[in-house]
């Protein structure tokens, strides 16, 4: 079967009265062959989730080490390696953890939500996962071999090793993410059952269409940056784009505003699902919410905002205007969620609270983005008033294209989106593992993620204010300690989530088809975990909440009925 294969049975949406056909009968391989050779979207999605959590733990440990390295008297990671730890932590947060985690969740959930038997191009989806894994290992190997992207000349005049290997690894990771994005977007666009027009697509799936489209529009640009930097570096001349000092600066735009918000788009869709399920009400004004998610995706496209090539970018009116309007769609969505909650009977659970934390932190990120473009704050980089100690950091870790305030923004937005991804793992645990993860664990993760986000990102923004306030020199250790604890808490949160999922998966009690009792979309109509082919039979979809239609209004249930 070729990568482009999408057999007739797979290509069609799940069986409906108008499209009858036989279920595939070939036996699925089991054991190692079943994992390595699988084309089942649930297995592929679980592998994305599992490995992204492993890399996530390593990433946040690296972020902790990087933050701790700012403490005065810190000897680890040391002047020679601090930039490498810093960059791998940023790359890891986004490309080895957050984006793959969203892809994993979407690979499991989106085909179920749109009533498809499988993901489009299942072999390509599997190839994307394996390419990402190999690319991630190559990237980490490059860094572990005293290499990596960017850096500075070592005191002895030597340079980083394995730079090409790091470029290859990062390039593979991006290509794999793009391939997986195409599979997910194509699934949602083409494999919907009869009656499910675009307006009826579940909002998480809709957010994934927007997110994957945004990634397809912007990540090839990073690939272009990498090719130029590596080709220049390889040419031995390396006069403009390939110098070690500027390699990181060319790709830093991916981790700054507005692009960093593009990696948080799925968080909005997740919150929409949580609000509908936990408030037990149909989401009113769906069109406005879909439009708001689309607008957020549009505003977060950041490939044009490359400060390396446009020195005056941060003072450009387009950049300033987009930074200001960036969060307005979140406010529109919040209005819709409040309306749904008021119309329903909210009974907040752990995933819901995690989702609320995620949205609040995303709004905090938006405030940070606005603060960045307010000129008197001088958050853009070094100024004549920058204190001496802070300036030494700025020369090593924070660059003009990725100043301290942007480092903080990366932390806030990534952790906000991480909270949403964790909420999704708890919410859809029945479909992902076949067992429901405990609500108590979710509440614990909510608390830890709230602390982690508040403590990790904002201290870097505080460093940014140091350009204006020389007094910050005396507080560098205090601020660094706070950000170190924040990064450490993020690592702890990953461990808790893994334990919660394992604890749930190992329990004997199999989850009900709809453990929440108020699910509204098609994934709650199938077994937990879903059977092969996902659905035996699907009638024509006649609304955006087909399961709500079948069950009736759950908000009118008495407590006894609900239990």
């Amino acid at each position: 079967m070729a990568l482009t294969d999408n057999s007739v049975v797979d290509a069609l949406p799940a069986e409906s009265e108008s499209v009858p056909r036989e279920l595939p009968t070939q036996a699925e391989p089991t054991g190692l062959a079943g994992v390595v050779g699988t084309a089942d979207h649930k297995v592929i999605g679980r592998m994305w989730i599992a490995f992204s959590l492993i890399f996530g733990l390593a990433t946040f440990v690296a972020a902790t080490i990087s933050a701790a390295g700012q403490l005065s008297g810190a000897t680890f990671p040391g002047a020679q390696n601090e930039f490498q730890v810093f960059t791998i932590a940023r790359i890891g947060m986004v490309f080895l953890f957050l984006v793959p985690l969203f892809i994993g969740i979407a690979t499991v959930v989106c085909p179920l939500q749109v009533g498809a038997r499988t993901v489009a191009f299942p072999r390509a989806a599997a190839a994307a996962f394996w390419a990402w894994l190999v690319g991630a290992v190559v990237l980490i190997t490059a860094y572990a071999s005293d290499g990596g992207i960017g850096g500075k000349l070592n005191p002895d005049g030597s340079v980083n090793k394995a730079i090409d290997l790091a470029f290859v690894g990062f390039g593979m990771v991006i290509l794999a993410v793009l391939l997986a994005s195409v599979c997910i977007a194509t699934t949602i666009i083409t494999l919907r059952p009869p009656g499910m027009d675009f307006f009826r697509v579940p909002l998480f799936s809709w957010s994934m269409v927007i997110a994957t489209s945004a990634w397809v529009l912007t990540l090839p640009v990073v690939l272009g940056n990498l090719v130029l930097a590596d080709l220049d570096y390889r040419s031995a001349a390396g006069a403009t784009l390939g110098q070690q000092l500027v390699q990181w600066q060319q790709i830093a735009w991916v981790f700054g505003q507005p692009q960093i918000f593009a990696f948080a788009i799925p968080a909005l869709g997740i919150m929409c699902e949580l609000v509908a399920t936990f408030s037990k009400a149909r989401q009113p004004q769906r069109g406005a919410l879909m439009g708001a998610i689309g607008a957020f995706g549009l505003f977060s496209l950041g490939a044009w905002a490359q400060a390396f090539f446009y020195n005056d970018l941060y003072n450009q009116i387009v950049f300033i205007a987009l930074s200001i309007v960036l969060g307005l769609p979140i406010l529109v969505l919040a209005g819709g969620w409040v309306t749904a909650v008021r119309q329903g009977a909210l009974r907040p659970g752990g995933p819901f609270l995690l989702g609320v934390v995620s949205i609040l932190m995303l709004l905090l990120g938006w405030v940070g983005a606005i603060a960045f473009v307010i000129k008197p704050f001088q958050l853009h980089g070094l100024s004549a008033d920058t204190p001496r100690n802070l300036a030494s950091f700025t020369k090593t870790l924070w660059t003009p294209t990725y100043p301290a305030a942007q480092v903080g923004l990366t932390g806030i937005v990534v952790l906000a989106a991480t909270a949403a991804a964790f909420a999704a793992l708890f919410y859809w645990s029945a479909k992902i593992t076949g067992r429901s993860a405990s609500q108590g664990w979710a509440l614990l993760v909510t608390l830890v993620m709230l602390l982690a986000t508040v403590m990790y990102g904002p201290p870097f923004i505080a460093f940014g204010f140091g350009n204006k306030s020389p007094d910050i020199d005396g507080s560098i250790d205090t601020i660094s300690t706070i950000s170190t604890i924040g990064a450490g808490l993020a690592a702890v949160a990953v461990v808790i989530v893994v334990l919660a999922l394992l604890n749930g998966a190992l329990s004997r009690k199999r989850a009900a088809d709809d453990p929440w009792g108020s699910g509204q979309t098609l994934e709650w109509l199938t077994a937990s975990p879903p059977r092969q082919g996902n659905f035996a039979h699907l009638d024509e979809v006649s609304s955006a909440e087909p399961v709500y239609d079948l069950r009736g209004d759950p908000s009118t249930e008495t407590d006894e009925e609900a239990s």
Partner: protein, 200 residues
């Protein structure tokens, strides 16, 4: 002889155009990749010229004959590719095979001419004086050769499937998807032709 009217055949199932949609995403991603490189080219060229420096290093000549041939070759391939789509839409398999073969032949011709152009250009990428013009020219044109090779593989795969009888007037997704990706690559070369070879 009595004639009996059979009941009308069932309407064809509305097939989702899975491969075409995926190809559209891949085409957009490919276009964005090249637009980013061309954006960098234009930006650095503008900065270099504003600084009063030479953009094209001294002694380097960017000829027009070979790029003209490349453009004409790819424009011809647009016709042959669309011919294949038209033929498969009309269940004209012979014409479809011929058109797909002609497209692949023109693809080979493009690669051949692009390789020759490199020998004519003769830019030494390792010379500091040639930076960043040389890096950008090699990155943009080299990537495009790779993209055309990928498109040729796609066309060849779809041609094999067409030979196997998978595509008809009712189901021609593969050929349409390959055509979409091919046309995107030709459009990208048109931009390269204008920016790198005409306005230099």
């Amino acid at each position: 002889m009595a004639l009996s009217l059979a009941s009308a055949p069932p309407a064809p199932v509305a097939r989702p155009r899975v491969l075409v949609v995926a190809s559209a995403f891949v085409s957009v991603g490919t276009a964005m990749y090249f637009l980013s490189l061309l954006g960098v080219y234009l930006t650095l060229r503008s900065q270099t010229l504003r600084g009063g420096n030479l953009w094209i290093p001294q002694g380097v000549q960017v000829p027009l004959t070979q790029p003209n041939m490349l453009m004409v070759t790819l424009l011809m391939s647009v016709v042959t590719m669309q011919w294949a789509v038209w033929a498969i839409n009309n269940d004209d398999r012979t014409n479809a095979y011929f058109a797909l073969g002609a497209t692949l032949f023109l693809g080979f011709a493009y690669i051949n001419m692009a390789a020759y152009l490199y020998t004519v250009l003769g830019i030494d990428i390792s010379q500091v004086a040639a930076q960043p013009f040389a890096v950008l020219v090699y990155a943009i044109t080299g990537s495009h050769v790779v993209a055309v090779i990928a498109a040729m593989v796609f066309v060849a795969l779809m041609a094999v499937r067409a030979l196997g009888g998978q595509y008809t007037s009712r189901q021609h997704d593969g050929i349409s998807a390959a055509a979409l990706f091919w046309h995107t690559n030709v459009f990208v070369f048109f931009l390269i032709y204008l920016i790198v070879y005409i306005t230099k």
